[in-house]
Amino acid sequence: MSDMDKNISPEHKLFLLKVKRQKIAVNTARIAILVALIILWEVLAQFRMIDSFITSSPSRIVRTLVNLYREGTLFRHILVTCSETVIGFLLGTLLGTLIAVILWSSSFLARVFEPYLVVLNSLPKVALGPIFIVWAGAGPVSIIMMALAISLIVTIMEVLNGFLGVDRDKIKLMEAFGANRFQTFAKVVLPSTRPVIMNALKINVGLSWVGVIMGEFLVSKAGIGYLIVYGGQVFKLDLVMASVIILGIAATLMYHGVLFLERILFRNS
Protein backbone atom coordinates (compact mmCIF):
# COMPACT_ATOMS: atom_id res chain seq x y z
CA MET A 1 0.00 0.00 0.00
CA SER A 2 2.66 2.48 1.08
CA ASP A 3 4.70 2.26 -2.09
CA MET A 4 1.59 2.61 -4.12
CA ASP A 5 1.00 5.94 -2.38
CA LYS A 6 4.37 7.16 -3.59
CA ASN A 7 3.56 6.38 -7.21
CA ILE A 8 0.32 8.30 -7.29
CA SER A 9 0.24 11.01 -9.93
CA PRO A 10 -0.95 14.49 -8.93
CA GLU A 11 -4.08 14.03 -11.06
CA HIS A 12 -4.95 10.85 -9.26
CA LYS A 13 -4.32 12.50 -5.90
CA LEU A 14 -6.75 15.23 -6.88
CA PHE A 15 -9.31 12.66 -7.91
CA LEU A 16 -9.00 10.79 -4.60
CA LEU A 17 -9.36 14.05 -2.72
CA LYS A 18 -12.50 14.86 -4.67
CA VAL A 19 -14.01 11.45 -3.89
CA LYS A 20 -13.20 11.90 -0.23
CA ARG A 21 -14.74 15.38 -0.17
CA GLN A 22 -17.88 14.10 -1.82
CA LYS A 23 -18.18 11.36 0.78
CA ILE A 24 -17.88 13.86 3.59
CA ALA A 25 -20.48 16.10 1.96
CA VAL A 26 -22.94 13.20 1.59
CA ASN A 27 -22.51 12.15 5.21
CA THR A 28 -22.85 15.70 6.48
CA ALA A 29 -26.06 16.19 4.49
CA ARG A 30 -27.48 12.95 5.84
CA ILE A 31 -26.84 13.88 9.45
CA ALA A 32 -28.00 17.45 8.90
CA ILE A 33 -31.36 16.27 7.57
CA LEU A 34 -31.87 14.03 10.59
CA VAL A 35 -30.92 16.71 13.08
CA ALA A 36 -33.06 19.33 11.30
CA LEU A 37 -36.10 17.04 11.33
CA ILE A 38 -35.69 16.27 15.02
CA ILE A 39 -35.27 19.96 15.92
CA LEU A 40 -38.19 20.99 13.73
CA TRP A 41 -40.39 18.31 15.29
CA GLU A 42 -39.42 19.34 18.79
CA VAL A 43 -39.84 23.07 18.16
CA LEU A 44 -43.25 22.63 16.50
CA ALA A 45 -44.34 20.52 19.46
CA GLN A 46 -42.94 22.95 22.07
CA PHE A 47 -44.76 25.91 20.50
CA ARG A 48 -47.93 23.82 20.19
CA MET A 49 -48.09 24.23 16.43
CA ILE A 50 -48.65 20.50 16.24
CA ASP A 51 -50.54 18.47 18.81
CA SER A 52 -47.90 16.37 20.52
CA PHE A 53 -50.64 14.16 21.93
CA ILE A 54 -51.07 12.85 18.38
CA THR A 55 -47.61 13.38 16.93
CA SER A 56 -45.50 12.90 20.07
CA SER A 57 -42.17 14.71 20.14
CA PRO A 58 -38.49 13.80 20.42
CA SER A 59 -38.27 14.81 24.07
CA ARG A 60 -41.38 12.80 24.94
CA ILE A 61 -39.99 9.78 23.08
CA VAL A 62 -36.77 10.02 25.04
CA ARG A 63 -38.71 10.29 28.28
CA THR A 64 -40.76 7.22 27.36
CA LEU A 65 -37.61 5.25 26.58
CA VAL A 66 -36.08 6.26 29.90
CA ASN A 67 -39.23 5.24 31.73
CA LEU A 68 -39.33 1.88 29.97
CA TYR A 69 -35.72 1.41 30.93
CA ARG A 70 -36.37 2.38 34.58
CA GLU A 71 -39.31 -0.05 34.80
CA GLY A 72 -36.85 -2.64 33.59
CA THR A 73 -39.09 -3.73 30.70
CA LEU A 74 -37.27 -2.12 27.76
CA PHE A 75 -34.74 -4.85 27.20
CA ARG A 76 -37.22 -7.61 27.92
CA HIS A 77 -39.43 -6.40 25.07
CA ILE A 78 -36.48 -6.01 22.74
CA LEU A 79 -35.15 -9.43 23.67
CA VAL A 80 -38.51 -11.15 23.10
CA THR A 81 -38.95 -9.68 19.62
CA CYS A 82 -35.34 -10.16 18.58
CA SER A 83 -35.23 -13.79 19.66
CA GLU A 84 -38.48 -14.51 17.84
CA THR A 85 -37.06 -12.88 14.73
CA VAL A 86 -33.75 -14.72 14.92
CA ILE A 87 -35.47 -18.08 15.42
CA GLY A 88 -37.92 -17.35 12.58
CA PHE A 89 -35.05 -16.24 10.35
CA LEU A 90 -32.86 -19.26 11.04
CA LEU A 91 -35.74 -21.72 10.66
CA GLY A 92 -36.92 -20.04 7.45
CA THR A 93 -33.46 -20.11 5.90
CA LEU A 94 -32.51 -23.64 6.98
CA LEU A 95 -35.86 -25.28 6.25
CA GLY A 96 -36.25 -23.34 3.00
CA THR A 97 -32.82 -24.37 1.77
CA LEU A 98 -33.37 -27.98 2.86
CA ILE A 99 -36.69 -28.21 1.03
CA ALA A 100 -35.11 -26.59 -2.04
CA VAL A 101 -32.40 -29.29 -1.96
CA ILE A 102 -35.04 -32.03 -1.85
CA LEU A 103 -36.99 -30.47 -4.72
CA TRP A 104 -33.77 -30.06 -6.73
CA SER A 105 -32.83 -33.70 -6.28
CA SER A 106 -36.18 -34.96 -7.54
CA SER A 107 -37.74 -33.33 -10.55
CA PHE A 108 -40.84 -35.42 -9.83
CA LEU A 109 -41.33 -33.81 -6.42
CA ALA A 110 -40.50 -30.39 -7.84
CA ARG A 111 -43.23 -30.76 -10.44
CA VAL A 112 -45.73 -32.13 -7.92
CA PHE A 113 -45.24 -29.29 -5.47
CA GLU A 114 -44.95 -26.43 -7.94
CA PRO A 115 -48.66 -25.41 -7.86
CA TYR A 116 -48.70 -25.63 -4.06
CA LEU A 117 -45.74 -23.28 -3.88
CA VAL A 118 -47.38 -20.84 -6.28
CA VAL A 119 -50.64 -20.77 -4.30
CA LEU A 120 -48.88 -20.48 -0.95
CA ASN A 121 -46.66 -17.74 -2.32
CA SER A 122 -49.55 -15.60 -3.50
CA LEU A 123 -51.60 -16.13 -0.32
CA PRO A 124 -51.47 -13.18 2.10
CA LYS A 125 -49.86 -14.96 5.03
CA VAL A 126 -51.54 -12.81 7.66
CA ALA A 127 -54.73 -14.71 6.84
CA LEU A 128 -53.14 -17.77 8.43
CA GLY A 129 -52.71 -15.94 11.75
CA PRO A 130 -55.93 -17.18 13.41
CA ILE A 131 -55.10 -20.75 12.39
CA PHE A 132 -51.68 -20.54 14.03
CA ILE A 133 -53.24 -19.10 17.20
CA VAL A 134 -55.70 -21.98 17.44
CA TRP A 135 -52.97 -24.52 16.81
CA ALA A 136 -50.13 -23.14 18.89
CA GLY A 137 -51.84 -20.81 21.34
CA ALA A 138 -51.45 -17.06 21.73
CA GLY A 139 -47.71 -17.16 22.36
CA PRO A 140 -44.28 -16.99 20.80
CA VAL A 141 -44.78 -20.23 18.89
CA SER A 142 -47.56 -18.76 16.77
CA ILE A 143 -45.47 -15.67 16.21
CA ILE A 144 -42.54 -17.72 14.95
CA MET A 145 -44.91 -19.71 12.74
CA MET A 146 -46.10 -16.42 11.30
CA ALA A 147 -42.53 -15.35 10.55
CA LEU A 148 -41.82 -18.76 9.02
CA ALA A 149 -44.97 -18.63 6.87
CA ILE A 150 -43.78 -15.37 5.36
CA SER A 151 -40.15 -16.26 4.69
CA LEU A 152 -40.24 -20.00 3.96
CA ILE A 153 -41.92 -20.10 0.54
CA VAL A 154 -39.88 -17.22 -0.83
CA THR A 155 -36.69 -18.92 0.34
CA ILE A 156 -37.63 -22.22 -1.28
CA MET A 157 -38.41 -20.57 -4.60
CA GLU A 158 -35.35 -18.31 -4.61
CA VAL A 159 -32.90 -21.03 -3.69
CA LEU A 160 -34.44 -23.67 -5.96
CA ASN A 161 -34.23 -21.26 -8.89
CA GLY A 162 -30.60 -20.67 -7.99
CA PHE A 163 -29.91 -24.41 -7.97
CA LEU A 164 -31.66 -24.91 -11.31
CA GLY A 165 -29.82 -21.97 -12.85
CA VAL A 166 -26.39 -23.60 -12.56
CA ASP A 167 -24.73 -23.91 -15.99
CA ARG A 168 -25.63 -27.23 -17.65
CA ASP A 169 -22.03 -27.65 -18.87
CA LYS A 170 -20.69 -27.40 -15.32
CA ILE A 171 -22.88 -30.34 -14.38
CA LYS A 172 -21.89 -32.20 -17.55
CA LEU A 173 -18.25 -31.62 -16.60
CA MET A 174 -18.86 -33.26 -13.23
CA GLU A 175 -20.70 -36.16 -14.87
CA ALA A 176 -17.80 -36.67 -17.25
CA PHE A 177 -15.56 -37.06 -14.19
CA GLY A 178 -18.04 -39.68 -12.99
CA ALA A 179 -19.57 -37.63 -10.18
CA ASN A 180 -22.75 -38.84 -8.53
CA ARG A 181 -25.64 -36.51 -7.82
CA PHE A 182 -24.51 -35.82 -4.27
CA GLN A 183 -20.97 -34.90 -5.36
CA THR A 184 -22.35 -32.68 -8.09
CA PHE A 185 -24.49 -30.93 -5.54
CA ALA A 186 -21.83 -30.50 -2.87
CA LYS A 187 -18.99 -29.49 -5.17
CA VAL A 188 -20.73 -27.42 -7.83
CA VAL A 189 -24.38 -26.60 -7.28
CA LEU A 190 -24.20 -25.43 -3.67
CA PRO A 191 -21.01 -23.36 -3.95
CA SER A 192 -22.10 -21.68 -7.16
CA THR A 193 -25.45 -20.81 -5.57
CA ARG A 194 -23.85 -19.13 -2.56
CA PRO A 195 -24.63 -15.59 -3.78
CA VAL A 196 -28.29 -16.57 -4.28
CA ILE A 197 -28.48 -18.07 -0.79
CA MET A 198 -26.82 -14.99 0.64
CA ASN A 199 -29.45 -12.84 -1.07
CA ALA A 200 -32.21 -15.04 0.28
CA LEU A 201 -30.73 -14.52 3.73
CA LYS A 202 -30.85 -10.76 3.36
CA ILE A 203 -34.43 -10.84 2.15
CA ASN A 204 -35.32 -13.24 4.97
CA VAL A 205 -34.16 -10.91 7.70
CA GLY A 206 -36.63 -8.30 6.50
CA LEU A 207 -39.43 -10.82 6.04
CA SER A 208 -38.86 -12.30 9.49
CA TRP A 209 -39.31 -8.87 11.04
CA VAL A 210 -42.55 -8.41 9.11
CA GLY A 211 -43.78 -11.82 10.26
CA VAL A 212 -42.84 -11.31 13.89
CA ILE A 213 -44.38 -7.85 14.20
CA MET A 214 -47.49 -9.10 12.44
CA GLY A 215 -47.62 -12.04 14.83
CA GLU A 216 -47.16 -9.80 17.83
CA PHE A 217 -49.97 -7.56 16.63
CA LEU A 218 -52.23 -10.59 16.67
CA VAL A 219 -51.33 -12.40 19.83
CA SER A 220 -48.56 -11.21 22.01
CA LYS A 221 -48.25 -10.03 25.57
CA ALA A 222 -44.70 -8.81 25.16
CA GLY A 223 -42.36 -7.54 22.48
CA ILE A 224 -41.99 -4.42 20.38
CA GLY A 225 -45.02 -5.27 18.25
CA TYR A 226 -47.03 -5.61 21.45
CA LEU A 227 -45.83 -2.18 22.63
CA ILE A 228 -46.92 -0.65 19.34
CA VAL A 229 -50.40 -2.18 19.43
CA TYR A 230 -50.85 -1.45 23.13
CA GLY A 231 -49.66 2.15 22.67
CA GLY A 232 -52.12 2.58 19.81
CA GLN A 233 -55.03 1.18 21.83
CA VAL A 234 -54.47 3.43 24.87
CA PHE A 235 -53.57 6.37 22.65
CA LYS A 236 -50.02 6.68 23.89
CA LEU A 237 -48.36 7.83 20.72
CA ASP A 238 -45.12 8.40 22.63
CA LEU A 239 -44.92 4.69 23.23
CA VAL A 240 -45.77 3.87 19.61
CA MET A 241 -43.13 6.23 18.24
CA ALA A 242 -40.51 5.06 20.69
CA SER A 243 -41.20 1.42 19.74
CA VAL A 244 -40.98 2.15 16.04
CA ILE A 245 -37.59 3.77 16.59
CA ILE A 246 -36.33 0.79 18.58
CA LEU A 247 -37.61 -1.48 15.83
CA GLY A 248 -35.76 0.50 13.18
CA ILE A 249 -32.51 0.29 15.10
CA ALA A 250 -32.86 -3.43 15.88
CA ALA A 251 -33.74 -4.35 12.28
CA THR A 252 -30.80 -2.35 10.92
CA LEU A 253 -28.40 -3.97 13.37
CA MET A 254 -29.59 -7.44 12.42
CA TYR A 255 -29.27 -6.70 8.70
CA HIS A 256 -25.70 -5.59 9.26
CA GLY A 257 -25.15 -8.75 11.29
CA VAL A 258 -26.05 -10.75 8.18
CA LEU A 259 -23.74 -8.65 6.01
CA PHE A 260 -20.97 -9.26 8.53
CA LEU A 261 -21.71 -13.00 8.45
CA GLU A 262 -21.49 -12.92 4.66
CA ARG A 263 -18.10 -11.29 4.78
CA ILE A 264 -16.77 -13.83 7.27
CA LEU A 265 -18.18 -16.87 5.50
CA PHE A 266 -17.25 -15.92 1.96
CA ARG A 267 -14.03 -14.09 2.45
CA ASN A 268 -12.36 -15.59 -0.61
CA SER A 269 -15.06 -15.58 -3.22
Binding site: D167, D169, L173, E175, A176, G178, P191, R194, N268
Partner: protein, 255 residues
Protein backbone atom coordinates in the same frame (compact mmCIF):
# COMPACT_ATOMS: atom_id res chain seq x y z
CA UNK B 1 -6.56 -53.20 -32.45
CA UNK B 2 -4.83 -49.85 -32.72
CA UNK B 3 -8.22 -48.13 -32.95
CA UNK B 4 -8.70 -46.36 -29.65
CA UNK B 5 -12.18 -45.20 -30.61
CA UNK B 6 -14.58 -47.11 -32.82
CA UNK B 7 -18.09 -45.97 -33.65
CA UNK B 8 -20.51 -48.35 -35.32
CA UNK B 9 -23.67 -47.22 -36.99
CA UNK B 10 -24.32 -44.67 -34.28
CA UNK B 11 -27.70 -42.96 -34.16
CA UNK B 12 -29.35 -40.65 -31.65
CA UNK B 13 -32.93 -39.49 -31.43
CA UNK B 14 -34.20 -37.01 -28.86
CA UNK B 15 -37.80 -37.35 -27.82
CA UNK B 16 -39.93 -34.50 -26.64
CA UNK B 17 -43.65 -33.71 -26.63
CA UNK B 18 -43.21 -31.73 -29.84
CA UNK B 19 -42.01 -34.85 -31.56
CA UNK B 20 -38.67 -36.49 -32.05
CA UNK B 21 -35.44 -34.97 -33.24
CA UNK B 22 -33.12 -37.09 -35.32
CA UNK B 23 -29.81 -35.69 -34.12
CA UNK B 24 -27.37 -38.27 -35.50
CA UNK B 25 -27.78 -41.04 -37.97
CA UNK B 26 -25.56 -43.77 -39.26
CA UNK B 27 -22.24 -42.45 -37.99
CA UNK B 28 -19.23 -44.72 -38.52
CA UNK B 29 -15.59 -43.96 -37.87
CA UNK B 30 -12.50 -45.10 -36.05
CA UNK B 31 -9.74 -43.09 -34.46
CA UNK B 32 -6.16 -44.27 -33.99
CA UNK B 33 -4.20 -43.70 -30.83
CA UNK B 34 -2.53 -40.29 -30.87
CA UNK B 35 -4.59 -38.96 -33.73
CA UNK B 36 -6.02 -35.45 -33.70
CA UNK B 37 -9.52 -35.35 -35.17
CA UNK B 38 -11.51 -32.20 -35.90
CA UNK B 39 -15.22 -32.25 -36.47
CA UNK B 40 -16.90 -29.47 -38.43
CA UNK B 41 -20.52 -29.25 -39.41
CA UNK B 42 -23.51 -26.94 -39.52
CA UNK B 43 -25.03 -25.66 -36.29
CA UNK B 44 -27.31 -28.16 -34.62
CA UNK B 45 -26.09 -31.17 -36.62
CA UNK B 46 -25.36 -33.17 -33.49
CA UNK B 47 -21.67 -32.53 -32.83
CA UNK B 48 -22.09 -31.96 -29.10
CA UNK B 49 -24.40 -34.94 -29.00
CA UNK B 50 -21.69 -37.08 -30.58
CA UNK B 51 -19.15 -36.05 -27.92
CA UNK B 52 -21.65 -36.80 -25.15
CA UNK B 53 -22.18 -40.23 -26.67
CA UNK B 54 -18.42 -40.84 -26.86
CA UNK B 55 -18.06 -39.82 -23.21
CA UNK B 56 -20.88 -42.13 -22.21
CA UNK B 57 -22.99 -39.27 -20.85
CA UNK B 58 -25.83 -40.19 -23.20
CA UNK B 59 -27.08 -43.59 -24.30
CA UNK B 60 -27.28 -43.96 -28.08
CA UNK B 61 -30.64 -44.97 -29.49
CA UNK B 62 -28.84 -46.93 -32.18
CA UNK B 63 -25.41 -48.43 -32.69
CA UNK B 64 -22.52 -48.47 -30.27
CA UNK B 65 -19.30 -46.78 -29.21
CA UNK B 66 -16.14 -48.71 -28.35
CA UNK B 67 -13.30 -47.14 -26.44
CA UNK B 68 -10.11 -49.18 -26.24
CA UNK B 69 -12.15 -52.12 -27.50
CA UNK B 70 -14.70 -51.91 -24.69
CA UNK B 71 -18.29 -50.95 -25.31
CA UNK B 72 -19.18 -47.67 -23.62
CA UNK B 73 -21.99 -47.68 -21.10
CA UNK B 74 -22.01 -44.96 -18.50
CA UNK B 75 -19.43 -42.21 -18.00
CA UNK B 76 -16.15 -43.48 -19.43
CA UNK B 77 -13.04 -43.06 -17.32
CA UNK B 78 -10.81 -42.95 -20.40
CA UNK B 79 -12.11 -39.68 -21.74
CA UNK B 80 -11.74 -36.10 -20.59
CA UNK B 81 -14.13 -33.35 -21.61
CA UNK B 82 -13.43 -29.71 -22.34
CA UNK B 83 -16.01 -27.06 -23.08
CA UNK B 84 -16.22 -23.66 -24.71
CA UNK B 85 -16.07 -22.01 -21.32
CA UNK B 86 -13.31 -23.18 -19.02
CA UNK B 87 -15.77 -23.71 -16.15
CA UNK B 88 -13.08 -23.26 -13.56
CA UNK B 89 -14.73 -22.90 -10.18
CA UNK B 90 -14.32 -19.36 -8.88
CA UNK B 91 -14.41 -20.51 -5.27
CA UNK B 92 -11.43 -22.84 -5.68
CA UNK B 93 -7.79 -21.99 -6.22
CA UNK B 94 -6.19 -23.16 -9.46
CA UNK B 95 -4.55 -26.01 -7.57
CA UNK B 96 -7.82 -27.22 -6.08
CA UNK B 97 -9.54 -26.70 -9.43
CA UNK B 98 -7.21 -29.03 -11.29
CA UNK B 99 -7.57 -31.63 -8.53
CA UNK B 100 -11.35 -31.83 -8.85
CA UNK B 101 -11.31 -34.89 -11.14
CA UNK B 102 -9.20 -37.13 -8.88
CA UNK B 103 -11.17 -35.80 -5.92
CA UNK B 104 -14.43 -37.00 -7.46
CA UNK B 105 -13.00 -40.33 -8.51
CA UNK B 106 -11.45 -40.73 -5.06
CA UNK B 107 -8.01 -41.27 -6.56
CA UNK B 108 -6.41 -38.40 -4.70
CA UNK B 109 -3.24 -40.28 -3.77
CA UNK B 110 0.18 -38.75 -3.16
CA UNK B 111 1.13 -40.01 -6.59
CA UNK B 112 -1.73 -38.16 -8.30
CA UNK B 113 -0.97 -35.01 -6.35
CA UNK B 114 2.64 -35.25 -7.47
CA UNK B 115 1.55 -35.83 -11.06
CA UNK B 116 -0.72 -32.79 -11.01
CA UNK B 117 1.93 -30.59 -9.43
CA UNK B 118 4.31 -31.67 -12.16
CA UNK B 119 1.76 -30.78 -14.82
CA UNK B 120 1.37 -27.34 -13.26
CA UNK B 121 5.14 -26.92 -13.23
CA UNK B 122 5.65 -28.15 -16.78
CA UNK B 123 2.96 -25.91 -18.19
CA UNK B 124 3.87 -22.77 -16.29
CA UNK B 125 1.00 -22.57 -13.87
CA UNK B 126 2.87 -23.55 -10.73
CA UNK B 127 3.33 -19.95 -9.56
CA UNK B 128 -0.38 -19.38 -10.03
CA UNK B 129 -1.53 -22.48 -8.21
CA UNK B 130 -2.78 -20.58 -5.17
CA UNK B 131 -4.50 -17.89 -7.21
CA UNK B 132 -8.17 -17.85 -8.03
CA UNK B 133 -9.36 -18.25 -11.65
CA UNK B 134 -10.44 -14.61 -11.92
CA UNK B 135 -6.80 -13.61 -11.41
CA UNK B 136 -5.69 -15.45 -14.58
CA UNK B 137 -5.83 -14.44 -18.23
CA UNK B 138 -8.16 -16.21 -20.65
CA UNK B 139 -5.36 -18.26 -22.19
CA UNK B 140 -4.01 -19.37 -18.84
CA UNK B 141 -7.48 -20.29 -17.69
CA UNK B 142 -7.94 -22.54 -20.73
CA UNK B 143 -4.58 -24.14 -20.00
CA UNK B 144 -5.68 -24.73 -16.40
CA UNK B 145 -8.88 -26.29 -17.72
CA UNK B 146 -6.79 -28.64 -19.90
CA UNK B 147 -4.63 -29.64 -16.95
CA UNK B 148 -7.77 -30.28 -14.92
CA UNK B 149 -8.94 -32.54 -17.75
CA UNK B 150 -5.72 -34.53 -18.03
CA UNK B 151 -5.28 -34.81 -14.25
CA UNK B 152 -7.40 -37.98 -14.35
CA UNK B 153 -5.07 -39.38 -17.03
CA UNK B 154 -7.62 -39.89 -19.79
CA UNK B 155 -6.33 -41.27 -23.10
CA UNK B 156 -8.87 -39.37 -25.15
CA UNK B 157 -9.72 -35.70 -24.97
CA UNK B 158 -13.05 -34.40 -26.22
CA UNK B 159 -13.01 -30.66 -26.88
CA UNK B 160 -16.33 -29.01 -27.63
CA UNK B 161 -15.57 -25.65 -29.27
CA UNK B 162 -12.93 -25.30 -26.60
CA UNK B 163 -11.45 -22.14 -28.12
CA UNK B 164 -14.57 -20.32 -29.33
CA UNK B 165 -14.86 -18.08 -26.30
CA UNK B 166 -11.42 -16.55 -26.80
CA UNK B 167 -10.64 -13.50 -28.89
CA UNK B 168 -8.85 -14.16 -32.18
CA UNK B 169 -5.29 -13.37 -31.09
CA UNK B 170 -5.50 -15.30 -27.86
CA UNK B 171 -7.15 -18.10 -29.73
CA UNK B 172 -4.25 -18.58 -32.14
CA UNK B 173 -1.82 -18.66 -29.23
CA UNK B 174 -4.00 -21.03 -27.20
CA UNK B 175 -4.36 -23.31 -30.26
CA UNK B 176 -0.59 -23.72 -30.32
CA UNK B 177 -0.36 -24.04 -26.59
CA UNK B 178 -3.04 -26.68 -26.13
CA UNK B 179 -1.95 -28.55 -29.24
CA UNK B 180 1.60 -28.87 -27.99
CA UNK B 181 0.43 -30.06 -24.58
CA UNK B 182 -1.87 -32.66 -26.13
CA UNK B 183 0.95 -33.93 -28.36
CA UNK B 184 3.49 -33.93 -25.53
CA UNK B 185 1.16 -35.85 -23.24
CA UNK B 186 0.49 -38.23 -26.08
CA UNK B 187 -3.29 -37.90 -26.03
CA UNK B 188 -5.84 -38.68 -28.67
CA UNK B 189 -8.05 -35.67 -29.29
CA UNK B 190 -11.40 -35.00 -30.89
CA UNK B 191 -12.13 -31.31 -31.34
CA UNK B 192 -15.45 -29.85 -32.44
CA UNK B 193 -15.11 -26.43 -34.04
CA UNK B 194 -16.93 -24.00 -36.28
CA UNK B 195 -13.67 -22.60 -37.52
CA UNK B 196 -12.52 -24.33 -40.72
CA UNK B 197 -9.03 -22.81 -40.51
CA UNK B 198 -8.66 -23.98 -36.93
CA UNK B 199 -9.68 -27.50 -37.89
CA UNK B 200 -7.15 -27.72 -40.72
CA UNK B 201 -4.39 -26.20 -38.62
CA UNK B 202 -4.74 -28.79 -35.88
CA UNK B 203 -6.18 -31.96 -37.35
CA UNK B 204 -4.72 -35.11 -38.79
CA UNK B 205 -8.16 -35.74 -40.20
CA UNK B 206 -11.21 -33.47 -40.49
CA UNK B 207 -14.68 -35.02 -40.38
CA UNK B 208 -17.28 -32.94 -42.15
CA UNK B 209 -20.80 -33.53 -40.92
CA UNK B 210 -24.00 -33.04 -42.85
CA UNK B 211 -27.05 -31.12 -41.69
CA UNK B 212 -29.30 -32.80 -39.15
CA UNK B 213 -29.63 -35.76 -38.85
CA UNK B 214 -25.86 -35.48 -38.72
CA UNK B 215 -23.75 -38.05 -40.48
CA UNK B 216 -20.23 -37.99 -41.84
CA UNK B 217 -20.32 -36.41 -45.28
CA UNK B 218 -16.63 -36.59 -45.94
CA UNK B 219 -13.30 -37.18 -44.25
CA UNK B 220 -10.26 -35.11 -45.20
CA UNK B 221 -6.84 -36.40 -44.40
CA UNK B 222 -4.76 -33.29 -43.81
CA UNK B 223 -1.30 -33.57 -45.31
CA UNK B 224 0.65 -30.36 -45.05
CA UNK B 225 4.19 -29.71 -46.13
CA UNK B 226 5.50 -27.55 -43.36
CA UNK B 227 8.68 -27.88 -41.26
CA UNK B 228 6.94 -28.46 -37.94
CA UNK B 229 3.37 -29.37 -37.54
CA UNK B 230 2.17 -26.71 -35.15
CA UNK B 231 -1.17 -24.98 -35.70
CA UNK B 232 0.49 -21.64 -36.42
CA UNK B 233 2.97 -23.08 -38.97
CA UNK B 234 0.24 -25.16 -40.57
CA UNK B 235 -1.57 -22.00 -41.54
CA UNK B 236 1.35 -21.09 -43.78
CA UNK B 237 1.45 -24.43 -45.60
CA UNK B 238 0.80 -24.22 -49.37
CA UNK B 239 -1.95 -26.84 -49.17
CA UNK B 240 -3.85 -24.92 -46.53
CA UNK B 241 -6.07 -22.95 -48.95
CA UNK B 242 -6.85 -26.06 -50.93
CA UNK B 243 -8.28 -27.84 -47.90
CA UNK B 244 -10.03 -24.69 -46.79
CA UNK B 245 -11.88 -24.31 -50.09
CA UNK B 246 -12.80 -27.98 -50.22
CA UNK B 247 -14.27 -27.99 -46.73
CA UNK B 248 -15.94 -24.65 -47.21
CA UNK B 249 -17.71 -25.94 -50.34
CA UNK B 250 -18.56 -29.17 -48.60
CA UNK B 251 -20.22 -27.31 -45.73
CA UNK B 252 -22.34 -25.49 -48.29
CA UNK B 253 -23.10 -22.47 -46.13
CA UNK B 254 -25.92 -20.24 -47.30
CA UNK B 255 -26.67 -16.90 -45.75
Amino acid sequence: MSDIVAVHNLGMKYHSLNGEIDALKNVNFTVKKGEFICIVGPSGCGKSTLLSLLAGLLKPTEGEVYIKGKKVSGASLDVGYMFQKDHLFEWRTIHRNVLIGPEIRRTLTDETKEYVLNLLKTYGLYEFKDKYPSQLSGGMRQRAALIRTIATKPDILLLDEAFSALDYQTRLAVNDDIYSIIKKENKTAILVTHDIAESISMADRVFVFSKRPGTIKNIYEIKLSCPQRTPLCSRDAPEFRYYFNKIWKELDVHV
